[in-house]
Symmetry: C2
Subunit: 391 residues, 2 copies
């Protein structure tokens, strides 16, 4: 028997911050991580020796990348379903498998599949013309939400029509995005996310429900524990786990949920990979989402998911609108130590060029008191984002 | 102002497991870590893109390595003092500075310096011949301990003489190691370590005192909190901090201390770098020793050091004596998932070739109950080490 220096080789398509943070978990576990980067200076390519530059849109590049990997996984939803099917037919172990990935990629397919499985989703319909939207609104009332079936995330691919008068303008914008669905507008009290790690054999572990704060469709803060009724949290958790099973997830499954004013829970978004709403787990949970993703895609035993502090707050840092000014203001040699002046702040900087709205880093504070953790995390994030503020 | 993608560039001489674990902390903080590896497959070279293969014994290699680094630090004690002095004279920022490093490298110099600073060390003397040892034993009684002034660690460079009859044989072994000192044998109740992170400006943070369990001079387990009287812990902590100041440490300073039967505390060993006794901080403290080492060498604000769980146990995995058998038995593709079956076990595998006594990995368990954490950590470490046992 030859000695193997690595416990496994995992290929991750994409080299953003999710792959970058996966590398820390891989290092501890003795796993060799290989990433497929679009550019040599992508966030993960800066910290992964086996970073290969290639095109995730090219089947040739994907096949070359997969060769020698024990399993192929993803830090984004962008690989074409037909390429995934071909790789699976080649015998490449994909985590998640192509059918699961398609649920995260095609919202119309996802809504049909989850509804058929008896899982709660907003009322929805496929639409081909403005008349279809008006007919839907007659049944479900205005406002309604137009969504592109594919390619939407971080608030992109979503158009709210408050009234019938809004429809022509919204339709004109939306129809360029291709296949469309319309959904009832849910009067949202709170948004939460449920993260489940699942192996191909069906073993699962689920993290405490995380409360997410969204601005313009982008998650800006997460709070653990979520400040909701325990019965609502238990319902959300059950739905999240059921979605992971229905999707046949292998690896992390992140389910974003609307909690309506009446406590009803509805599936909003789905990602079969580590997720922004789980960054708190690096310092705040017994096992990080990145470690459990790796363990799950390899079929290894999953790790404990409980929170390790009474309150864990994560605040994201987004690229400011004034990009040129921000490039000076966001010099990490100044900003990272400035953020660290908050003694409990765990600072993560992704090494990315600032662009407006782009996720550049995050700060987590775990502590005994939620208000104090929130104060420290926000102050540190302001400093990390190049804004003025006191720590 | 040009945009800098990294918050800093830190050069670490050496590419063992300490540098490997430093990379995870560097990644989070947006720091570019560069390591000087003896071989391309060293533990850290496997996970650091900017790994440069070179000889830490060569001034030419050290100079080339240091070029472009904001600061140079170390994962071992092996660089010659004269090379450090030359690099410092070149203007390379060294953390720790050469004078501090020499205290960790030369035990005789260290004993003299710490004793002169009023810090508690075992009774000691420089010896050049067996007669000197006999004279020392007349004053301090047998047993005595012969130590090589340089190059000793993990139990190497230490020879215990229980009686005058042992001396000729021990002397013959020891004298080959060069300059020697003799020390009084301390009747040890417990060994502990104090880790302090210190900036060049003198800012410090100190971790809770860690109890270390040694076998044949190698640390096999650490326990936090140490199971000792609070007054003894407070004394140990004060001595550790005073040593860090006396040494002019920049970065981590790990002070290993004997606690005698009467509660007296004596300095045993000193390392000015991250240390095996601090691995528990990765999962068990608010800020890991690796993050605080980086923050300290860069002069950044230091992070909180409190333990995040009531009990944190780390068990080291050493290469077994039967190396050839172990190479099969230690296949990490089998051993790592096997160890992960203990649900709270945080498993670290260093990617090193097994050799007898070599540190190959460790397991940390943080929990509410010390006995349960110890049970889980030992069971997982047994599996990681390729031994039979139940989880």
């Amino acid at each position: 028997m030859t000695f193997a220096p690595a416990a496994a080789t995992v290929g991750m398509v994409g080299a953003g911050q999710l792959a970058r943070m996966t590398q820390a978990a891989a290092t501890a576990l003795g796993i060799r991580l290989r990433v497929l980067a679009a550019h040599a200076d992508d966030a993960a390519a800066q910290v992964v020796p086996d970073a290969r530059v290639g095109d995730w849109g090219s089947l040739t590049d994907l096949r070359a990348f997969a060769a020698g990997c024990d399993v192929l996984t993803f830090d984004h939803e962008l690989v074409a379903p037909e390429h995934l099917a071909t790789l699976a037919a080649d015998g490449v172990p994909l985590a998640p498998p192509p059918e699961g990935k398609l649920l995260a990629q095609d919202k119309l397919h996802q809504r049909h599949t989850l509804a058929a499985a008896g899982l709660p989703v907003p009322a929805f319909a496929e639409v081909a013309a403005p008349e279809d939207v008006r007919a839907f609104a007659q049944a479900h009332d205005w406002p309604v939400v137009l969504k592109s079936a594919r390619g939407g995330y971080d608030g992109r691919g979503v158009w709210v029509c408050d009234t019938a008068q809004d429809l022509p303008a919204r339709w004109a914008e939306a129809v360029r995005a291709g296949a469309l669905l319309v959904e009832a507008h849910v009067p949202i009290a709170t948004e939460v996310a449920v993260l489940t790690a699942r192996t191909a054999a069906g073993a699962t572990v689920t993290y405490p429900v995380v409360e997410t704060v969204q601005e313009d469709g982008i998650c800006t803060e997460t709070h653990v524990p979520a400040r909701l009724d325990p019965a609502v949290l238990a319902r959300a958790s059950r739905v999240g786990e059921a979605v992971a099973d229905a999707a046949g997830a292998v690896g992390l499954c992140a389910v974003e949920l609307f909690v309506a004013d009446d406590g009803a829970v509805l599936v909003n978004e789905l990602a079969l990979r580590p997720h922004n709403s789980g960054h708190w787990t690096i310092e705040g949970a017994a096992t990080s989402q990145f470690a459990n993703h790796l363990r799950a895609v390899l079929g290894w035993p999953l790790g404990a998911t409980e929170a390790t502090a009474p309150a864990v707050v994560t605040v994201n840092v987004l690229g400011p609108e004034a990009t040129s000014e921000a490039q000076g203001g966001l010099d990490p040699a100044v900003r990272v130590p400035s953020a660290l002046a908050a003694p409990g702040a765990q600072v993560h900087w992704y090494g990315k060029m600032p662009r407006p709205g782009r996720k550049l880093g995050h700060v987590t504070v775990a502590g005994d008191d939620h208000a104090e953790a929130l104060r420290q995390a926000r102050a540190a994030a302001h400093h990390l984002g190049g804004e003025e503020g006191s720590l």
